[in-house]
């Protein structure tokens, strides 16, 4: 019972992420593709998605964007990912149980970036909001599940 109650704590984030993904429409992807150089918040969010999916990313190269220090982005790879017809369904079906502590640590510099907020994302695009919520929910899910699941045995 205790375990179930604890896992409940992860639910709102997961429900919100699912709703956010479902709210993304093909037009949102189309409008995002129109950006030649998208706002930095979008690049940060997409790099978070790449890392969770264990896709290749560039080495850590520091750049300054709008007076925020961050890593050189992988946006061209992200565009390729966005062009995959299964892009959204892949996120919906993502195996969140297979997230590792290492994934979370690699994601941490992105999630800790002051620009990584749904508020900043909402100024950029609806798709960015959905992806931002999704990344956050995966992060939260793992951190809760990691404490809870060992108790199940």
């Amino acid at each position: 019972e205790e375990v179930e109650r604890d896992l409940e704590a992860a639910k709102p984030a997961l429900v919100e992420a699912e709703a956010a993904l479902n709210a993304i429409r093909p037009e949102d992807i189309k409008s995002l593709k129109a950006y030649k150089n998208p706002p930095v918040v979008i690049k940060i969010i997409f790099d978070g998605v790449l890392l969770l999916r264990r896709r290749p990313v560039l080495k850590c190269q520091m750049v300054e964007e709008k007076s925020t220090l961050c890593y050189k982005d992988n946006y061209s790879v992200s565009v390729t990912m966005m062009n995959e017809s299964s892009f959204l369904s892949d996120l919906q079906n993502f195996a969140k149980e297979s997230i590792t502590d290492e994934d979370i640590e690699l994601l941490s510099p992105y999630v800790e970036n002051p620009l990584f907020t749904t508020e900043a994302a909402s100024k950029a695009s609806g798709l960015a909001v959905g992806l931002c919520k999704w990344v956050k929910a995966m992060f939260t899910y793992h951190c809760i599940a990691k404490v809870v699941i060992p108790k199940m045995d």
Partner: protein, 191 residues
């Protein structure tokens, strides 16, 4: 670049802790990145989990004195070789080093207590390298997605079965449990 000393100071300021007393020392994602490990790491006597991921380290060194180290996290750096790990081989249980530039598993055989090896997105291209992991009889979990060897076998189940045949004691591969069916088929395949 950020030195190890500065990174430790940053960690202490951020968490209001004394690093030499901490079991978990988080030096990941420094901006500018850490480029060199050095002997100031050796002061972290209580450290069980050292996090150096998301930096620009090219070489593993300076681990002497980390007598309690169980988890070394050094993913997303620029490391080409498995070296400098002798000093922690007696205690090290988990090596997290996805997103590096490693082509060969030479040197891993010294880490006989390893139970977890996260190694996605490196440059392992040959089965002979995976065979070196046979020395690691306590290994339970392996992450290998994104290596050229994985990519070459991606369209088929062949990869999982091959690994299961070579390392039948493995419990988890790329986040999914390995089952007896995969071990049996792997055994038949690898011989």
């Amino acid at each position: 670049m950020t030195s190890i000393k500065d990174a430790i100071k940053n960690f202490e300021t951020k968490t209001n802790q004394v690093a030499t007393e901490c079991e978990k020392v988080l030096l990941y994602g420094q901006l500018p990145p850490i480029m060199k490990m050095d002997s100031s790491l050796g002061t972290l006597k209580a450290c069980k989990h050292l996090a150096l991921s998301s930096n620009s380290i090219e070489k593993i060194s300076g681990l002497k004195g980390l007598d309690s180290l169980e988890v070394l996290s050094i993913g997303r750096n620029q490391i080409k070789k498995l070296e400098g790990l002798e000093d922690v081989s007696a205690t090290l249980k988990e090596l997290w080093m996805s997103y590096n530039l490693i082509e060969k598993f030479n040197g891993i055989e010294k880490l006989t207590n390893l139970t977890v090896l996260y190694f996605s997105n490196n440059l392992i291209a040959k089965w002979v390298e995976v065979d070196r992991l046979r020395e690691l009889v306590k290994l339970e979990e392996l992450l290998f997605v994104g290596n050229p060897l994985f990519e070459a076998h991606k369209p088929t189940e062949d990869f999982r079965i091959n690994v299961a045949g070579r390392l039948p004691w493995l419990k988890k591969l790329d986040g999914q449990p390995v089952d007896d069916d995969e071990r049996e088929r792997g055994k038949a395949l690898v011989g």
